[in-house]
Symmetry: C2
Subunit: 563 residues, 2 copies
Amino acid sequence: MAKKSSLKIIFLGGLNEVGRNIMVLEKDNNIVVVDCGIMFPDDYLPGIDFLIPDFLYLKKNVDKIRALIITHGHEDHIGAIPFLFRDLKPAKIPIYATRLTLGLIKSKLSSSYFQESDDNSLLNEIDPSKKLHIGPFDMEFFRVNHSIPDGVGIIFRTDIGNIVHSGDFKFDQYPIDGKVTEYAKISNIGQEGVLALFCDSTNAEEKGFTVPERDVGKTLYEKFEQAQKRIIVATFSSHIHRIQQVLDAAKKLDKKVAASGRTMLKTIKIASELGYLKIPDDTVIPITKIDDFPLNKIVMLSTGSQGEPLSTLRKMALAEHPRVKIMKGDMVIISSSPIPGNENAISSTINMLLKQGADVFYESIAGVHVSGHAQQEEIKMMINLVKPYYFIPVHGEYKHRIQCAKLAQSIGMTNEKIIIAQNGDVLKMNDNLCRISGNITLQNIYIDGYGSGNTEDIVLKDRKILSRNGIIMINTIIDSKKSEVIKEADLTLKGIIYMEEFEQIMNEGREIISDAVKKCFDNNMTNTQLIENNIKETFEKFFSKKINARPVIVSRVIDLGKI
Amino acid sequence: MAKKSSLKIIFLGGLNEVGRNIMVLEKDNNIVVVDCGIMFPDDYLPGIDFLIPDFLYLKKNVDKIRALIITHGHEDHIGAIPFLFRDLKPAKIPIYATRLTLGLIKSKLSSSYFQESDDNSLLNEIDPSKKLHIGPFDMEFFRVNHSIPDGVGIIFRTDIGNIVHSGDFKFDQYPIDGKVTEYAKISNIGQEGVLALFCDSTNAEEKGFTVPERDVGKTLYEKFEQAQKRIIVATFSSHIHRIQQVLDAAKKLDKKVAASGRTMLKTIKIASELGYLKIPDDTVIPITKIDDFPLNKIVMLSTGSQGEPLSTLRKMALAEHPRVKIMKGDMVIISSSPIPGNENAISSTINMLLKQGADVFYESIAGVHVSGHAQQEEIKMMINLVKPYYFIPVHGEYKHRIQCAKLAQSIGMTNEKIIIAQNGDVLKMNDNLCRISGNITLQNIYIDGYGSGNTEDIVLKDRKILSRNGIIMINTIIDSKKSEVIKEADLTLKGIIYMEEFEQIMNEGREIISDAVKKCFDNNMTNTQLIENNIKETFEKFFSKKINARPVIVSRVIDLGKI
């Protein structure tokens, strides 16, 4: 019998972080990539919009790549696809995803400047009732519940054993679309035998089971019923089921729903066209028509549940929305929970809405949101269904994955069978053996505001120093032939605090610069760059001694003797 | 009968925010100031350490100020005292505070460069069993429970009615120091009649009652008992009762406690010298001695429970602490909850500690902290005890104070008797009447890293643009007499993303600048500043069109014709 080849699994993202999910499976020179998402920075990174995975490994092995499989349509799973396509050009990689996910990817690619229009041929629909065979991988998909419809987990059948990837999941016993997680498929593969389970850890710190989505619907209905004036519901545009419940509650109470926000309108269009969102008759109106109805008949659906600067809700809070001015008695429902880092933006949005007279319902004081990720009892149940030989927590910060590991231990898995991997780790799997066999060094790839640039660490460092300490530019005119300082240094300050003593300090600084230049001449130093450096260092030393601050110093010398 | 003078109450801070607490009472040309705190910025303010109140009103009315009364020793109540003293010089204002609070203020003033040493004569101890008479104010103090010992609320008896200020409070029925909130005093003034209650709103969103501090002690003891190796407890240095419970649990289990962190050591010293912290025999050791004991006998008390960059815990997490290297099995207890804005810093600290092998217990997964602020039932009880005619929620963001107002409504107060004031508002009170009669415009006073400077909004704006978009400096040498560009513009970039197209763009930019200068000459424009502006505007337009970015542009022109 021929020796079976091993399976390599490489994490290019999604570990040590929430977001940037991407996992590479490689066997017999065949690569299948699972998910390809972006991540929002958790530290303050000035000017940075998001991070994408480092695709270098995929670039180098582009000839092996057979498919990109996407579990669901959230940005942290699909957002980096245009960048992957850009980096792998001219190669074209087929994408496999369920229908809604595919719709969202299509819209993303068509609005992206990386993509030629004919690449839609690369988009293949996953039908979870059918199997998919690519190279050495026999794949089967099981539907899961999540905060976006059409999510799946993946079963990879290979000659060395079965691998299960949970996707982002939770269990909802009576979901809005009626599509309960396909427990039977999970249970069947568990009985067949599973070498390794890769499991969503995002909510591993949360006790118990997630509250069903329908309970949010009940709360929304109650609030809608109480509302005396207009209602504004802010939620994620991808949360189709939440939007469905808003529409349904409005319909029952004979209210009209007007959506606003670019992504909200786009997602509603895609989801309803594909049949994932059922828009009740006589319920949706354009935002331009809201003044044609009584105040208590209006529901607005908006973006901005995370306090995003340019979102509809933020504009309303700032009283800058062109159409909607908040009135006393308007009801605002923020139907989401804060993504870590956004707490202050959300709080300030709430404060401003309250000041304008709105009644605001949000997570701390009302049951208007439930999470899309499995909590502790669901994670344990997933493990008990799959009964894996190895357990590998994925998706989430280190602390989430450690908690997820503890859950596995709590139901009897031994420590040696639980693997806490890092981004870049290469897992090697043979029959009944799974171990970290190496690590690929990954770069942080930052995507800056203007889209095409990847920001480097050095630029970020510069920006941080600039922002904390400001900048001083020194222009000095000299004549090296005459060994003269022609004009005292010109100092320009930006981002530096004005202090009364400054005039005095700056005068002194100019003298010190002149002295430094003279000293250069005394030492027969006439190289412009050397003089520039000399000025920079001298001034830096002087300034930091004077006011204990370290701004960026830029020194330029004009040498008239050399013009 | 002579007409009674009205009482003015002015909020210079503490509303619309958590922190920067300060309230001014003014009657018959007598001013009493309550608290004088700092606030940490909630948005990202580059380089800013904290904000202080705008003292302009107090400067203008310095001759009327009779006293500064401090309710307790937290930074958001005492932190700005040195700045107040600096601004009111040469006037000297007597401070009144309880013993521990006074100890902390003394230490703050002695380490402050604003203060002459002889000003200790200004420090007066409040004995809560005694009344205090200053000008038209008869003051009585009632002890409250909080997350620092020795906190008080204040009763002001005036000829127009009684005013009650709750201070920062909660109710703890069996506090660590045995000093239960003085309910009788509060209840007595309630029976006497109260015109207005100013009430802590910080935790008005939290249901029920606060959990007693002793319950944290029990959890700490259990964790200490389980620990196989060293224990590190991070908490606020001012949380004397928490520290007491750490010491007591250690003593019972025959463990040794080593404190580290500058503020932690300082506060422990002050609190134990003043009798607020009882250090058990044979329990405390210097951090230099920890290696002399078995691992399971060591407890370290550290700062850094908010993930602060230079704190002991953060250094340990980064493996940069000079003495303590985290070992597998060390137990870290983060005994605090995140202050909004610090979530990510705390999470990353936890992640790093876990990676080094520590077991980490923190709020999401363990009962190792309780808050120091009254929750909903306690706030309602305070209102029912005081039975005020007017209710004015203070301390907290707008949303907290709105929630606090709703609590008052829920127990029967009518809307007209609840006042939601803003910073700068002037409340005017007469017999049975209280209304907002005006508003003083307040500036945000930012305190920058190097201490003495107050940063202005314009500097912050510059810093933000610098950090997001970087800066381009343009140096151009011309000769206006000859109408010539002597040397093509020199462009220096900082904090700007490098792109392949840049060289091309910069070359084009230099040409455009030369053209702009020539156009100036053609129009007989020779004023250097006008030419500089012209270059700036031309380049700005060109660059934003090219790469859709808006860096700061600084343009300097050297005119050889004018030297």
